[in-house]
Symmetry: D2
Subunit: 338 residues, 4 copies
Amino acid sequence: MKVAVLGATGFTGEKIVEILVSHPEAEIVYLASRTPKATPYSSIFPRFLNKADINCETLNKEKATDLSDVVFLALPHTVSMQMVPFFLKKKKKVIDLSADYRLTSASEYKKYYKKAHRDKSNLKKAVYGLPELFEKKIRNASLIANPGCYPTSVIIPLYPLLKEIAGLKDIIVDSKSSITGAGRKALIEYHYSNISGNIWAYKPFNHQHMPEIESILRRVTAKSPNICFVPHVAGIEAGIYSTIYLRLQPGFKYKEKDFKTIYRKYYSASPFVRIKDELPVLKDVVGSNFCDIGFRIDSQKKTAVVACAIDNLFKGAAGTAVQNMNIIFGRNQTLGLV
Amino acid sequence: MKVAVLGATGFTGEKIVEILVSHPEAEIVYLASRTPKATPYSSIFPRFLNKADINCETLNKEKATDLSDVVFLALPHTVSMQMVPFFLKKKKKVIDLSADYRLTSASEYKKYYKKAHRDKSNLKKAVYGLPELFEKKIRNASLIANPGCYPTSVIIPLYPLLKEIAGLKDIIVDSKSSITGAGRKALIEYHYSNISGNIWAYKPFNHQHMPEIESILRRVTAKSPNICFVPHVAGIEAGIYSTIYLRLQPGFKYKEKDFKTIYRKYYSASPFVRIKDELPVLKDVVGSNFCDIGFRIDSQKKTAVVACAIDNLFKGAAGTAVQNMNIIFGRNQTLGLV
Amino acid sequence: MKVAVLGATGFTGEKIVEILVSHPEAEIVYLASRTPKATPYSSIFPRFLNKADINCETLNKEKATDLSDVVFLALPHTVSMQMVPFFLKKKKKVIDLSADYRLTSASEYKKYYKKAHRDKSNLKKAVYGLPELFEKKIRNASLIANPGCYPTSVIIPLYPLLKEIAGLKDIIVDSKSSITGAGRKALIEYHYSNISGNIWAYKPFNHQHMPEIESILRRVTAKSPNICFVPHVAGIEAGIYSTIYLRLQPGFKYKEKDFKTIYRKYYSASPFVRIKDELPVLKDVVGSNFCDIGFRIDSQKKTAVVACAIDNLFKGAAGTAVQNMNIIFGRNQTLGLV
Amino acid sequence: MKVAVLGATGFTGEKIVEILVSHPEAEIVYLASRTPKATPYSSIFPRFLNKADINCETLNKEKATDLSDVVFLALPHTVSMQMVPFFLKKKKKVIDLSADYRLTSASEYKKYYKKAHRDKSNLKKAVYGLPELFEKKIRNASLIANPGCYPTSVIIPLYPLLKEIAGLKDIIVDSKSSITGAGRKALIEYHYSNISGNIWAYKPFNHQHMPEIESILRRVTAKSPNICFVPHVAGIEAGIYSTIYLRLQPGFKYKEKDFKTIYRKYYSASPFVRIKDELPVLKDVVGSNFCDIGFRIDSQKKTAVVACAIDNLFKGAAGTAVQNMNIIFGRNQTLGLV
C-alpha cells in the first residue's frame, strides 16, 4: 500500500507517519504540508531521523496521485473538501481525518463549522470510518470520513446499549482530553504553563463533535436520546477519558453482567475494543489503538456510569485511519497496529 | 492565636503549617506526628527551613494543651475521635480535618468508614465548618468538623440552587482531583509514573464523601435530590474540578442571569466564592482559598452544567480550616489567606 | 509604597503583581501592557479576581509617574532603555527587570542583545540589584538593574568561593530551567506537548546571561575564571537548578565544613540564602524567594560540585525586585516575601 | 526465539514484555516475578490485555529452562548472580539486566553493591552487552551483562572521542534521569507530588554506575580519564539526558566537523546511534531505541560539550537487551525495535 499524507506536520499527520513507518505492508511515498519548500520530514521532526527521511513538500496533487494508492487527508476542516473531489476522480482511496464528510447534513455542517459545504455529492458517498460499527461498508468505500476523537470515545460505548436497551433517554457525557486534540497551533492558550496541571470545561452543549455523535447514533439505533456533551481540557500528554452517565427508567432490570453480554455481542470481533471488569484507566490505552470500556450500575441512584478511554491521536484519529486502510485493502485490520 | 497541629506531616497538616507561617496573627506552638522522636519540622520538610524550624514531636496531648489555644487535627479518619474528647474537656477549640465529625449519623459513619463511632456525644455538638453556609454557628463552635474536599466543591455550588429552585431532582457530579487528596502514602499506585498523564474514575456511587454531600444538603435545603457522585483521579499537582449536571424539569424558566442573581444572594458576603461569567479554570484557584463557580444552561437539552474549581488541600482542607479559626477567634475570615 | 508595573502581562510582570497584592505596605496603583485598551487585570488573568481588579492600560508614562513612587519595568530587552531616562528625570525609583542595565559595557551589550545601547549615561548609574552582594548600594540607588534568573543562581553560590579560595580557574555551570524563563510567547516551541517531559541543552557557551555572570563576578572578586555555561530547558512548571563544577588545583585543602564557614561568613545576614547539608531540591524553593545551596567535594576527583536552586520567576526575577524595593524604601527586605 | 523473562513486573521487565509482544520473531513463553501465585500478566498490567495474557508465575527455574531459548533476568542486583549459574549450566542464553556481571572486578562490585560476588567464574565469561562497542563478542556470548542506563548514555558518546583524541583528562558528566530508573518501588520519595516538577542531584561522585563507566572506557581505550559523574532526578516520564563536559588541553585542534568524522568512523554501522547537527532533544528518543548525540566546541573556553539522549528503559535497558538477543540469534539487530 503506497501512502500519501497531506497535512503531515499536524499532530494527526505526524501520528499517521509514526504508525506507518513501522507498518509491515505500507510505504509512505508522499508527504505534504504548508512548508514553503521541500524539506526532509526528519528535519522538521528530528525524532524521525533514520525512520522517515522522505521530503515533506508543498502540495502537488498530481504528484501525490501518481505515487500513491491511498491518500490520507490530515487537513483542517473546510480544506479537505477542496481536495477530495480531485483524488476521487483519480480513483484514489481517500481517508479524510477532517470533519468535512462526517455529517451527512450540509446544513448542520454549516451551523457547526461556519462554512457552506462545497462537495455535497461526495458527502453522500462518504462512509463513516468507525470499523467497530461499519466494517462492511468500509471495505468497499472510496472515501472514508474518519471519526472525531470525542465521538469515537462516545459512540463505541453507547451504540450497543442504545441498540439493546429501551428508555435510555437522558445521557450526560463528561469528556477529558489532552490539548493535542485541538491541533498544533502557536497559541498562548496552549503554552506549557497554561496546560500543565490545569483542567477546564469548554464549549458546553455546543461542541462541534456533538452533532456527529448524535447523527451517527441516530443512524445506527434509530433513536434520538437527549445527549449532553461537555468536553474538558486536562493537562495530560495524550488521551481522552469519557465518563458517560445514563439515567435509568423505573423498572430498569439490566445488571452489570447483562452489559457485559451486550458488549460481547457487538464487539467480540472488534480486536481493539476491550471490555473491562473495572472502570478503565487512561494510561492503559495511551500509545495504542485500544478502546477500553468499563461500567457500573446503581439501581438505587437510577444511574449507570460507562467510562471509555482512548488515545485521542491514535484510536481517536490516526490509528483508526490506518485500521480503515487495512480494511479497504483487504488486510487484517490490526496490521501494524499492535 | 497559638496553634497546635496534630498530624503535621500529612499533606493536609503540611498545608496548614504552610498557611500559618505567613499568618499575621497566628503562631505555631506545637507540632506532632508519628515521627519516632522530636525533629525540626524543617528537617522533615526542608522547604520550611527558616520558616518553621520548630520541632515536630511524638504526640503529647498535655503539652499540646498547655501551649495552644486551638488544636488542628489533621489525622486519619477514626484517629481523630480518640483525641477530640480530651481537648474539648481541656476547653481547647478543636478543628478536626478528618471525617470523624462530619456525618451526624453514627450508623452512616460506620457504613462508610468501617468502624463504630466512639464519641457520639461530641458528634452532636460538632459544627460543619463550611463558612459559606455556617459562619454564624462556627463563631461559637468548640468543635469544627472541617469539610471534605469533594463536598466543598459540590455543596458550595449546589446549595443556593437547591434552595431556590424547585424540581432539581437528578444531579450528576463528575469530579476530577489531584492524587494528593488521597493522603501522603507510600503506595505503588501513587508512584509518579502511575499518576503523571493519567486519569481514571474510582468508587463510582459509593465514595465516602457521598453521604457527607447528601446529608449537609438535606440539612440546609430540606430536600433530598438524587445525587450521583463519580470522582476521578487526574495527573495534576493540585486541585479539584467538579462538573455538576442538573436535569431540568419541563417548564424550567431560569436563565443564566437568574443563576447569577441567586449566587449573589447567597455569597455576596463570602469573600472566597467567585461567580464567573465563564466556566472556571482550575489553575485560577490553585494555591489559593478561592472557590470559582461558573455555569451554562441549555433548555433544549434540559440540562444545566455548573462547574466548581478549588485547590483540594487549600479551600478543600487547610485553607477553610484556617478560615474557621479566624472566625472562631473573631478575626476577619480572610486573615492570612489572601 | 505606590507601585507602577509596566509590562504587567508577561510572566515576570504577573509574578510582581502576585507578590504585591499580598504585600502589607505596597499598593499597585498603575499597570500597563501592550493591551489595546484599558481592561481589568483580573479579566486578563482571572485568577486575580477580587485581588487585582485594577485596570491594565496602554502605557501612559505621565500617568504612571503621577500615581507612583516606584516603577517596575518588566519589559523586553531594548524596550526598557527607552523608558528609563523619562522616569529617572521624574525622580521615580526604577527597578528594571530587563537586561538593559545589567552589563556595564555597552559594546558587550550590543554583542549579546544585537542592538546599540541608547542610554549609556544611566548605564553607569545603575546598581546591580542582587541584595546578597550589593545591599548597601541598593539602598541609595535610583535605578536598579534587576539580575537575570540564571545569573542569580550562579553568582550567589560562586561569589564567596571565588573570593576566598585561590585557583578556581575552570568552572562548568549546567543549569536546568522552566520554559517560563523564556517569556510568555505564542511559539509552537513552547506548546505543552513540546515541553512536557522534555529536556534539552541550548545556546551552549553563548547564552546572553554568560557575560552578566562573568562581569559581575569579575567586579566583586577581581578574578576572571573560565566559566562555561550551558543552560537546559526542562519540562517543569517553575524553577532553575544550577549544578556548578569546580576543578580543584593540586593541593586544594578545603573541606565541606570550610565551604560552610565561607558561606556563613558571606550570607549569615542574607535571609533568603539557605546553606544546606545536602544538595538542594528544586521544589523546596518553588513559590518562594529562597536560594538553596548545597555542595560536595571529592578531592580524589579533584572536583567540587555546588548546586543552587531558585524559583526562576520569584528569586530569579520578581521576588528579588520586590526585595530591592523594600531595601530602597527602608523596609525589612523580607517584607511581603515570606 | 522463545523467551523467558524473570522479574517481569519491574519497570525493566515490563518494558521487555512491551517490546517483545510486537517482535516479529520472538515469543514470550514464560514470565516470573515475586507474585504469590500465577496470574495473567494482563491482570497485573491491564494495558497488556489481548497482548500479553500469559501467566506470570512464581519462579520455577526448571520450567523456565524447559520452555525457553533465552532468559532475560530483570532482577534486582545481587539476585541475578544466584540464578545465572543454573541457566548457563542448562545451556540457555542469559541476558542479565542487573549490575551483577557488569564490573569485572569482584572487589569493586562489593564496594558499590555492598555484597560479595558469589559467581566469580561466570563474571569472567560475561560479555558487556553494548552492541555499539562489542557486537562481535556478543554474537558468541552465553551471558550478557546488559549495560546500565547512565553508562549507556555516557560510554557511547565518550568512547570514540577518548579513543581518537589525546589529552581528554578531565571530564564532567551531568546526567538528568526519569525516576523510573530507580525501579518500581513503593517509596514516599517516588510519590507523584515529590517528583512532578522537581529536579535534584544525588549521589555525587559515588553513584554505582561510576565504576561501570570508568572500567568499560578503560578497557576499550586503555586510558583512565578523571570522570566526575553527577546524576540528577528530573520530573519527566522517561529518558536520560547526559551533558558531558570535556576540558580541552592547550593546542587542541579538533573542530566540530572532526568530531562528526570521528563519530561516523565508529558508529556508521550502528543503526541506533544518530549523530546530530544540533544538541539533542530528549523527547526525540523517548519510546525508541535511539541514542542521539550532539556537540559544541568552544576553543576560547577550552571546553567541548557533548550531549546524549536516550530512553532510560528502552535504549538504557530493555531495548538494548532485545538488540543483544537479536545479535546472539543471528538476526538483524533492529528486528522488532523500529
